[in-house]
Symmetry: C2
Subunit: 227 residues, 2 copies
Amino acid sequence: MIITPKNPNETNREYAFRVISDNIISLDIVPGSMIGEQEVASELGLSRTPVHEALLELSKSKIVDILPQKGCLVSMIDPDLIREARFLRITVETALVEDSCELAKETDLQDLEENLQLQEFYLQKDPLKLLTLDNDFHKIIYRICNKMQCHYMVSLMSMHFDRVRSLSLHSVKDLKIVSDHRAIFEAIKKKDPAAARAAFQKHMARFELDWNIISSEYKQYISDSNK
Amino acid sequence: MIITPKNPNETNREYAFRVISDNIISLDIVPGSMIGEQEVASELGLSRTPVHEALLELSKSKIVDILPQKGCLVSMIDPDLIREARFLRITVETALVEDSCELAKETDLQDLEENLQLQEFYLQKDPLKLLTLDNDFHKIIYRICNKMQCHYMVSLMSMHFDRVRSLSLHSVKDLKIVSDHRAIFEAIKKKDPAAARAAFQKHMARFELDWNIISSEYKQYISDSNK
DNA sequence: GCGTCGGCACTTGTATGGAAGTTAAAAATC
DNA sequence: GATTTTTAACTTCCATACAAGTGCCGACGC
């Protein structure tokens, strides 16, 4: 597991949650492996309590599965849950990009544009940074519509999705996400809901295509019941 | 706080979560009041740990607000969060009722019909039972579409909404929800997505109208920043 | 050799005490 | 009397200890 330093203003529980999440999404903790509270606590220099609470939260999105008196299983890649995460994101964010056309203020458009600039800068340089910027882009949309609580709920489930996306980041295709984002941005700027909707759905459709590649290439990580 | 007996196969944490949730939704714990872990733990005959973990989970949906070293504040009724909950439910479930037209099997239709029978039976008899059946009806839709994880996420946020709905249950208008449900059911049965969508949106639109009544009548429970 | 039982090593769930921080009232000072 | 400082009583957060359940592994009977 990759340990990052503790942010001074986060609690031990939040620290544990962040580190474990990052390691699961980056696949540094491999799907299907067991992790113990004590083991994680020792690595992070904490007691079991905050780690226990962090795992509890992760288990709510089924990204880990707590088996009482047995251990904590990092979930295998589960196509059903990925479909749910995709469904939720597409459904919610399609509605949001439409609403954004009305709601986006000038400063909001600036925030989106700044994010896009950075995306174009880091394109093909730093895939991990690009992933972060991608998430930020979508998050700004939620902020424009004043739906941050929805963002939290959706992002929890998206972990299933993010884990697969990081697998496919090496694929050249995914670099098209940046131009997708620009198309979405332009539509919002022009206050054209139909165009925004179309651009967003085109964006999300890419991940449908990738599924076949991923499932054949990373078979060992995929839940047995769905092969 | 109203204490219900502990279900034998639930953990202490799940027990605490259930009892606290129920009391918040039913307004037996009034919005804006502070509750302490120790206080709740004593009432339930538990230690602070499972109560702490239950409150932690509730704080994720902002239904309570944990103020470190101060206490746990049961959130005031917050129109913004209710709007988010409504938005999420409407957006997600509109998509689901459409999909249900394709996906619903014969047994699923039977489940829906049985639920409707019970709704009609308890109509004007037991408002609380009706609320449960209403939630069950929507839950069946999620199950038909194999989106139970989405259901969990949406239902967490819906607590804000449910709390207001219980206020308006005495209003005669709400008894129309049963006929709304039947209309949705009939549309799914006829595999008519457009009709299902229309019926569902009509259903959810009722709660928009109720808002004015509620906000004027229960002013004391509403968050100051939104009056 | 095979099946069963018992105990040990391990896990998570929970209880409890102390640490750190906030609040508000009491006490001291002006 | 008004204002500032201290202090005491509260809270959650976290560390630690114990309780309870699971599975493995060897011993034993057949």
